[in-house]
């Protein structure tokens, strides 16, 4: 697959932003500065960037609870996202909804719910709308290995298969559903094979290889745009940190985590770009410097943004009725 140097550099920048944003917000959470839950995405950046790179505004995504890279790539202003994570009045969700369940139809960001797997039919519905509206947009839906055990996974994928809906189901299989390893939750090794039961392709890809993820995604997206139906892409990856900030990760060994850290998707891509002479020390430093500045500015603005008013609680329950 031909990808221009400019695009490769852009993808690298997103990988770094995804990584640094997660590390920074994890620290902020430990300091008690953020509201709501937080589920660090460190180690899974290649899935975000490989799938979301090059999406159009009229395509939809629904991210999972893990990671903010997808939101930012789809077009959420990093300042608005950060203010939302700080629970500020001008941030994503405005204090009513948590930033991790915020949505913005103008950029094709569908809000997910806090119920693992429940988003699968919702994204599928957006894909149905695209088909009914005779558009060539595509819906990307993200979920983890754990969500693939929900009844909604079966109901929605079966429906999308029989109706040939323009949707790509992206499973970021990070080996654990909270503390439960995949081997305790399903008797199969590859979630991708489940697609066969729904009559569309299931593809396995190294989820730490951003270019492999990108290539698989682009193929699936083109297929969906042409009206040929859904694809399930299973990205094999690993989360470095706990399920959430409260998780010390006692269910896995230090050796296992260390082995996966060796497969760091950001460093891997960086090395590849260095070999291709697209990156060098100076360029890497520059990317990190700019990303850090962007995040610091967002944090600074978030901290000085207004808190919601208690009465804001009563807003936006109905389109017409007032509390």
């Amino acid at each position: 697959m031909q990808i221009s140097d400019k695009d490769l550099l852009q993808m690298y920048r997103w990988m770094v932003l995804d990584r640094v944003f997660e590390e920074k917000t994890f620290d902020l959470l430990k300091l008690g500065k953020l509201v709501g839950f937080h589920h660090p995405n460190v180690g899974q950046e290649a899935v975000d960037v490989g799938t979301c790179y090059g999406l159009r505004k009229d395509d939809t995504i629904m991210p999972t609870h893990r990671g903010k890279g997808k939101y930012l790539m789809k077009g959420v202003d990093i300042k608005i996202m950060m203010a939302g994570m700080f629970g500020r009045r001008n941030g994503s969700g405005k204090g009513r909804g948590p930033a991790s369940h915020s949505g913005d139809n103008s950029i094709g960001l569908l809000a997910g719910t806090g119920l693992i797997g429940s988003g699968i039919p919702i994204s599928t519905g957006a894909a149905l709308a695209m088909k009914l509206q005779k558009k060539d947009s595509v819906a990307l839906h993200f979920f983890g290995d754990g969500a693939s055990n929900r009844g909604d996974f079966h109901e929605a994928l079966n429906m999308a298969g029989v109706m040939k809906l323009p949707i790509v189901y992206v499973c970021d299989n990070n080996c654990y559903a909270m503390s439960v390893p995949q081997s305790c939750a399903m008797a199969i090794e590859n979630i991708a094979i489940r697609a066969e039961g729904y009559g569309f392709p299931g593809i396995m890809v190294d989820g730490n290889d951003v270019l492999a993820v990108y290539e698989a995604s682009q193929k699936a997206i083109v297929r969906a745009r042409k009206g040929e139906g859904p694809t399930l892409i299973e990205c094999k990856t690993y989360r470095w940190m706990g399920h959430s900030i409260n998780d010390p990760g006692v269910y896995r060994s230090a050796e296992e985590v260390a082995a996966w850290k060796e497969k760091c998707p950001v460093r891997r891509f960086e090395n590849y770009l260095r070999e291709k002479k697209i990156l060098n020390d100076a360029k890497v430093q520059d990317v990190y410097k700019k990303v850090n500045e962007e995040i610091e500015e967002a944090v600074h603005l978030a901290e000085s943004s207004p808190l919601p008013l208690p009465e804001d609680t009563l807003l936006d329950v109905y389109a017409d009725l007032k509390n």
Partner: protein, 328 residues
């Protein structure tokens, strides 16, 4: 005015709204053909022939996905009318009605609308037993973000369904299956809209208010006739919409009569009547000259045998008995 049945009124509303707005589509099990007229009851009769299979979509037996995809499509510019064949199956669609549809606008901080109607056939009296007979409105009236409608007459069914489809909020729309083909009444042709959140005084009286909805309205009207023979002037009030509830019309009536019986087909305990009773106790206590009475089903599943079902269901006689207790 021409008379049509309850289910014909529902069907007419669907025809008119689909013709008016091409974003409206029907999504559910057996909606195209069913038993020949669309679904088991004929509510979607003629829609597939007129609007095509793209807008009248038969789904797999997947209530959760029917509800969930409807939320997604509503977010993305469509106005789905999702059909849950029996309201008992609401339990299967509950997550997406409660956690997805009802909370989306809040999650988007007001930047999105979720114009979806979840239609479902509810109620007992047809020998359908445990899993095809319930009146589950109270399961969801405690969920902020939903509107909940339960019409009692064909004219109201048409006018309320048309309004529900045009509403920008998720609406759960209960159609009582006992009324579907048994109740035939005058229904205005063409444009006929009844706003959500407006109760209707079906009969005026000064001595006693009976509040009833769904199939119980017929029983309340019959009870009013029986009581009238004994000189009791009964006001019968149909809330029509449970959320939002027309509090003013209820309070006005109770303040006038000073006595109230609340009737619904669901079990009395934990039923929506408790909310109406609490409203009256809080806002009109000093106008009452007798205790508030509730008439509903016992706290059991809906039984199968007609003998048991008859015992289970509230009816005019039970309402009259309750009335006599407070009229003394």
């Amino acid at each position: 005015m021409r008379e049509i049945t309850f289910v014909e009124a529902v069907n007419e509303a669907l025809h008119e709204e689909m013709a008016r707005d091409e974003r409206v589509y029907i999504f559910g099990e057996d909606v195209r053909v069913g038993y020949g007229k669309g679904g088991p009851f004929g509510a979607t009769n003629g829609l597939a022939a007129r609007f095509g299979p793209e807008r009248v979509i038969d789904t797999p037996i997947s209530e959760s996905a029917i509800a969930g995809t409807s939320v997604g499509a509503a977010l993305w510019g469509m106005r789905p009318v999702a059909e849950i064949m029996f309201s008992d199956f609401l339990a299967l669609a509950m997550d997406h009605i409660v956690n997805s549809a009802a909370k989306m606008r809040y999650a988007y901080a007001g930047e999105a609308t979720v114009p979806v109607v979840f239609r479902m056939a509810c109620g007992a009296g047809v020998g359908a037993a445990l899993h095809h007979s319930q009146s589950p409105e109270a399961w969801i009236t405690n969920v902020p973000g939903l509107k909940v409608v339960m019409p009692s007459t064909p004219a109201d069914a048409k006018g309320l369904l048309k309004s529900a489809i045009r509403d920008d909020n998720p609406v759960v729309f209960f159609e009582h299956k006992f009324l579907y083909s048994r109740l035939r009444e005058p229904v205005p042709e063409g444009e006929h809209l009844i706003p959500l959140g407006k109760a209707d005084v079906k009969r005026s009286g000064e001595d006693l208010t009976i509040i009833a909805y769904g199939a119980m309205l017929q029983q309340a009207m019959r009870a009013a006739d029986l009581l009238n023979q004994e000189g009791v002037k009964v006001e019968v009030l149909d809330p029509r919409t449970l959320v939002p509830l027309d509090r003013e019309t209820i309070l006005q009536s109770v303040k006038k009569t000073g006595k109230v019986i609340i009737v619904h087909e669901a079990p009395t305990f934990g039923g929506f009547g408790g909310e109406i009773a609490a409203l009256i106790a809080e806002e009109a206590f000093y106008s009452l000259d007798a205790p508030i009475k509730r008439v509903g089903a016992p706290f059991t599943p809906v039984p199968a045998s007609p003998i048991l079902e008859n015992f289970y269901l509230p009816n005019a006689e039970k309402i009259v008995k309750a009335a006599k207790e407070i009229m003394e």
